[in-house]
Symmetry: C2
Subunit: 320 residues, 2 copies
């Protein structure tokens, strides 16, 4: 029996995380076991509504059995207004096991597909406007993993999200521009002359990172001055290492300043443990270090496991 | 008598502000009257050391009398290590009427030129590393204008400088990345979808600007979250105007957040009046508005007048 045939025979549903620039898809059996996965570098920014179905078929077409309609559960920007079809934001507070309530089904031509696009979440209370689309499904994954979860969850990244959950309900959340801010400063500002690759591999780099986290946490108002101070230190500070080590040291410091400002922004809310970090290993490890330096313990949940669990929760709620 | 002949006859010295991307030059008579001015879009970033003399002659050659050696006083990046010839940073504290002490003369081929490159300033005390090159001459202009000046001076811009002067001596200074931060966020980040032209022409825009200044001053730690909040407000806030007015409103708010973070960074130091803003009218007016909203009065000095006065002070000290 061919592998494709085996997948088609056991396939129960398809999970898709479809963002601004790419899609990742997984074939799952009835027990939630991953049978296969696929990805494409095509997302909301490069697709018109008519492009979505062909792109999806390109990625998952081989998995589909000849007959029957296969549930495809999609989270992320495919459900944005500029995506495949809009799945309007659900307002918070929202029970994370109820995301399916806001799902919409785009029209499809292939009779084997039954697509549901999950909604994002929005927040308007007290002028604290905020939105997420994709991350809510990872947070649902946390609830699938730990039913009735209460606590703080953080999803580091380009637009880092911090969410307060109470007994499985997302109560409120805040987005920080940290990843984007770091990237712009390190690659486009005057600091690009001073910063290099930063992977926190040496104790010196880790110290520079953690000192910056603590400094900004103690005095967030100094953030903008400390940014230029990095450039000036590169020109004047004899204690910095030379060569590539210098760029790594200063990049570690920049990362600490940006993440430190984010943690300062969370303020006293961080005291309400437990904190769960959801995302890729490297970035979550960096956040865990920073949190630890401020006296906070963090648990971790792998980002891919979270999105699969969240889509699985929605799949179970949506039925067949 | 031709105009060129008249300039050559009266010319006493030439002032040059030579930055990263352009030069501005002025022909001055013995009384400091401006006889002519010129500019070129050539600066440190596009010139090798050998290019400086031809570029200077291209700009000011017509002014020079046939014989004699004409003093040319240059401030800015032409004196940087990557410039014409390095005029090493003077450490602060520094008397601003003594910048000529650190001037260097690059070798020139044309016997009519006697060039002095003024130094920049550096600060290393207590790890508060900082540098300036060009702005020190504008600050010297403030001292030329008000001998023995004591107080705070601010030079808004790409890398905004705040300097503490005591009786004509620059004691310490701080650079904020404000202008660059605004430009990157407004043109390269996710906020570019929400921000437009921002000239604070409507009362609504001014209110948005000032509210943002106050918010960040009250809670600088929220800066990063408020950045993303701008994008979310664009998606969710019904109270925002439509069309171009919407982009202007959000750009005004972004400007207020960035300038507010800078003013928060100065903190209690702002209470030590007087504050003098040095620079172009539009930007100084914006800073004056922001300072006023926080209860601080600001005087203003035109940036071009300041650089000319500062170069004049150095010219007088350097002699002929």
């Amino acid at each position: 029996m061919s592998r494709a045939h085996d997948i088609a025979r056991r396939l129960a549903w398809i999970a898709v995380d479809w963002g601004s620039s790419n899609l990742r898809a997984w074939a799952l059996d009835a027990d939630g076991e991953v049978l296969a996965s696929a990805s494409r570098d095509k997302g909301m920014l490069s697709l018109t509504p008519a492009d979505y179905e062909p792109t999806l078929l390109e990625a998952v077409g081989d998995w589909l059995p000849a007959s029957g309609r296969m549930p495809v559960r999609v989270c992320g920007m495919a459900g944005a207004r500029q995506g495949w079809r809009e799945a309007a934001y659900l307002p918070v507070p929202t029970r994370l096991d109820g995301l399916g309530n806001g799902a919409v089904s785009p029209a499809v031509q292939d009779p084997r597909l039954r697509v549901a696009l999950l909604p994002g979440l929005c927040q308007t209370a007290d002028g604290a406007f905020d939105v997420m689309r994709g991350e809510e499904t990872q947070l649902a994954g946390l609830v699938a993993d730990q039913p009735g979860f209460s606590g703080l969850a953080c999803l580091p990244g380009t637009h880092a999200k911090w969410a307060r959950l109470e007994n499985g309900t997302l109560e409120r959340f805040t987005t920080f521009l940290s990843g984007e801010l770091y990237r712009l400063l390190a690659s486009q500002s005057v600091l690009r002359h001073s910063t290099g690759d930063d992977d926190l591999t040496t104790p010196g780099d880790r110290d520079a990172f953690l000192s910056a986290v603590r400094e900004v946490n103690d005095a967030p108002r100094a953030f903008s001055a400390r940014l230029f101070g990095l450039r000036a230190a590169d020109l004047l500070d004899d204690r910095l290492p030379d060569g590539e080590a210098r760029g790594a040291r200063l990049a570690a410091r920049l990362s600490g300043l940006v993440i430190g400002l984010e943690l300062a922004g969370m303020g006293e809310a961080l005291a309400s443990t437990p904190i769960t970090l959801i995302g890729n290993q490297t970035l979550c490890a960096r956040y865990a270090l920073a949190l630890e330096a401020l006296g906070h313990e963090a648990h971790r949940l792998d980002g891919e496991a979270a999105v699969l669990a969240g889509l699985g929760l929605a799949n179970a709620a949506l039925g067949t």
